[in-house]
């Protein structure tokens, strides 16, 4: 029994109830419990029989965490996972608060945790992950992360906290260099996942990974992949896992989802060891629901509402590249907290021929971008809910589908408006 934890946990749980009643989730209870019991995460996580594995990368963390969680559950494990968005220490502590008993007992076998790159070192020092997957290094949030090199340095520091296996994207310029270095050091097992050259060539903008200018032209080590995307069409992908090809129907379209699945399979094998069954894993991937707002389709009356996330150049571009033809009814909504709108001009918007609504607090920046892309738009409505309702009140598009391309907060608002109140932060 951990009596020293009782009071902090009791107070933290109460705070959690209060913040949830006020609407939405909050990392504040987690921050609070860590103030009272600084080793809270350490104490609780130490109970997991299969330890912790972490998911990192500029994009795809939530999708991959969801996939690995589904695979582990299909193997009969009880999984503790953090809702996406809660990927900083206080957020993870908040999630743990919701699961532990008053004495700090955690009734799970494995932790599968999504971690923000900037907080990864601190959080991984607390979590002591057995294995980690790093999905990609992309140009992302430069107002806080600055340069891709700096992000690659964060991942290098995080890798130092991993104890057994690191799973890396072979097609990522920075991660391939990191993996070669880790393989040379020999402390960690380095596993690769990848994308076959033909698949990569057929992708309009590849994987939108950052270039590593300092190491371009350096000799490449032989990197044998554990899992490789060898074919891909819409939401169906063929992944070769240790030489065995499997066709997998994923829950969302796009090469980025297929590559995330290859990473998820590789991390799952590392996490489950001898218990890992590829057939179980593939079945789990096929029966998986989409993560909130990442290629999710919601049926509303006589039409579908598809939600695509645009939280960075890479996520916007990969989602546009994955579109099933030219969408005939589109809304794009931009968040207030997207501080520097410049990156919108790095995106190729030629997949869009017209946009019905530009929305969100920074709708005007989307409008300006569309003007310069020569893509007409019909309406400006800064309230995403109002824009969505107006679309639903309008004529049914020929495709029967409204495509919503939404920044993170607008995605949450749109889902809530459509009646999905079990929001990811709220599930913490």
């Amino acid at each position: 029994m951990r009596f020293k934890l009782v009071l902090p946990i009791l107070l933290g749980k109460l705070l959690r109830v209060v913040t949830r009643l006020r609407g939405g989730g909050s990392a504040f209870p987690g921050w609070f419990v860590m103030k009272l019991a600084p080793n809270f995460i350490d104490d609780v996580i130490g109970q997991l029989s299969h330890g912790v594995v972490v998911v990192l990368g500029s994009n795809g963390k939530s999708t991959t965490t969801n996939m690995v969680t589904g695979i582990a559950r299909a193997h009969g494990l009880k999984v503790f996972t953090n809702p996406s968005g809660a990927n900083m220490p206080q957020g993870v502590a908040s999630s743990l608060l919701g699961q532990v008993s008053l004495t700090g007992k955690l009734p799970h076998d494995i932790g599968i945790i999504e971690v923000d790159e900037a907080y990864g070192k601190v959080i991984c020092r607390a979590l002591k992950p057995r294995a980690a997957v790093i999905l990609n290094v992309q140009i992302d949030q430069i107002y806080r992360l600055f340069e891709p090199e700096r992000v690659a340095g964060m991942f290098r520091d995080i890798a130092a906290e991993v104890t057994e296996t690191i799973v890396l994207n072979r097609e990522d310029n920075f991660l391939s260099t990191l993996g070669d270095r880790l393989a040379d050091e020999g402390r960690l097992t380095v596993e690769w996942f990848g994308t076959a050259p033909a698949v990569l060539e057929s992708a309009p903008h590849g994987l939108v990974v950052a270039r590593d200018y300092a190491n371009e032209g350096a000799p490449r080590a032989l990197r044998e992949v554990t899992a490789e995307v060898v074919a891909f069409e819409g939401a169906t992908t063929e992944i070769s896992f240790r030489g065995e090809a499997h066709s997998i129907r994923l829950s969302a379209r796009g090469l980025h989802n297929a590559v995330d699945a290859a990473g998820a399979l590789t991390l799952s094998e590392a996490a489950l060891g001898a218990e890992f069954s590829l057939d179980e894993a593939v079945t789990a991937l096929q029966s998986m629901k989409t993560v909130y707002g990442r290629g999710e389709t919601i049926t509303v009356g006589d039409r579908e509402v598809e939600i695509l996330l645009m939280k960075s150049l890479a996520s916007l571009q990969m989602n546009l590249d994955a579109l099933d033809g030219t969408p005939d009814s589109v809304m794009i909504a931009f968040d207030e907290h997207s501080r520097d709108p410049s990156w919108l001009y790095a995106a190729d918007l030629s997949a869009l021929h017209r946009v019905d609504y530009v929305s969100g607090p920074k709708a005007v920046f989307i409008g300006l971008r569309l003007h310069y892309a020569g893509v007409p738009y019909d309406h400006v409505e800064t309230s995403t809910e109002k824009a969505l309702q107006a679309m639903l009140d309008g004529p049914r598009p020929a495709s029967g589908r409204h495509t919503l391309i939404l920044d993170y907060d607008q995605m949450m608002l749109a889902r809530k408006y459509l009646g999905y109140r079990d929001l990811e932060a709220g599930a913490a």
Partner: protein, 246 residues
């Protein structure tokens, strides 16, 4: 008249913050005015076109600056000749520093710049990120954008682009540089998308060099109203007006 030519320097290297949008803005505004504009890229080691009407260069990570630094001595003389001949140039952040006399990278590496601007650039430990970066210029009035840089720029008998209203700019007082029709700045957004007056200044001088006229119309005015709303959005809540006092 034949199409205008815009030379985009190192688009594969200096592409970190959407400054390629400046070329897209000039192209779109030219086309709306009935003028053709062709964008030509240049990467290290490649030949330059014979003649250009515009040069655009954006920002990139330190590693990319180090790589293109080896190409600058090769193309520097041509860039200076074009600048002397009045070619319109827009150079943003790292691109601005690289078109100066010299640039010192954070690891101490010194890069000889193209010498279009009489500037020297030194690294700073602290990065400046300004969500509403406001500069008052003579050529295009109040400019609004976003700042994200970690340098000090020293001007050597060099005219700045303008005076800092918010943010840091070159040294906390003045921002950017202007030599003839060449403009260097730390303004992102991209700068020409948010500030069409500056884009029109460049289009006007570039067409005048050819003895032609650039005239805006209703389509430009429609975009300009949207750009103004975007500038208003950025300065909202910081107590700075979107237009400078007359």
């Amino acid at each position: 008249m034949s199409a205008l030519t815009l030379l985009e320097l190192y688009p594969g290297h200096l592409m970190m913050n959407g400054d390629m949008g400046n070329a897209a803005v000039l192209k779109r505004r030219a086309e709306l005015a009935g003028l053709g504009l062709v964008v030509v890229g240049h990467e290290p080691g490649e030949p330059l076109p014979d003649d250009v009407d515009f040069v655009s260069i954006g920002t990139g990570p330190t590693s990319a600056q180090a790589v293109v630094g080896s190409d600058l001595p090769v193309i520097g003389p041509q860039l200076r000749a074009w600048a002397d001949a009045g070619v319109a140039m827009i150079a943003v952040n790292a691109g601005f520093h690289l078109l100066g006399r010299s640039l010192t990278l954070p690891d101490g590496t010194r890069i000889e710049g193209a010498g279009v601007f009489a500037t020297t650039t030194q690294p700073r430990a602290e990065r400046t990120v300004t969500d509403a970066f406001v500069v008052d210029s003579e050529i295009a009035g109040r400019l609004v954008g976003v700042e994200n840089q970690a340098v000090s720029v020293t001007l050597h008998d060099q005219r700045p682009l303008g005076r800092v209203v918010t943010g840091r700019g070159d040294d906390g007082k003045v921002e950017g540089a202007i030599s003839g029709n060449a403009i260097g700045t730390h303004l992102h957004g991209p700068v020409l998308a948010l500030n069409p007056a500056l884009a029109d200044h460049l289009l006007t001088v570039a067409t005048a060099r050819r003895g032609e006229k650039y005239e805006t119309g209703a389509a430009h005015a429609e975009i300009d109203a949207v750009a103004r709303q975007a500038r208003e959005h950025l300065v909202r809540g910081i107590g700075v007006a979107v237009d400078a006092a007359a």
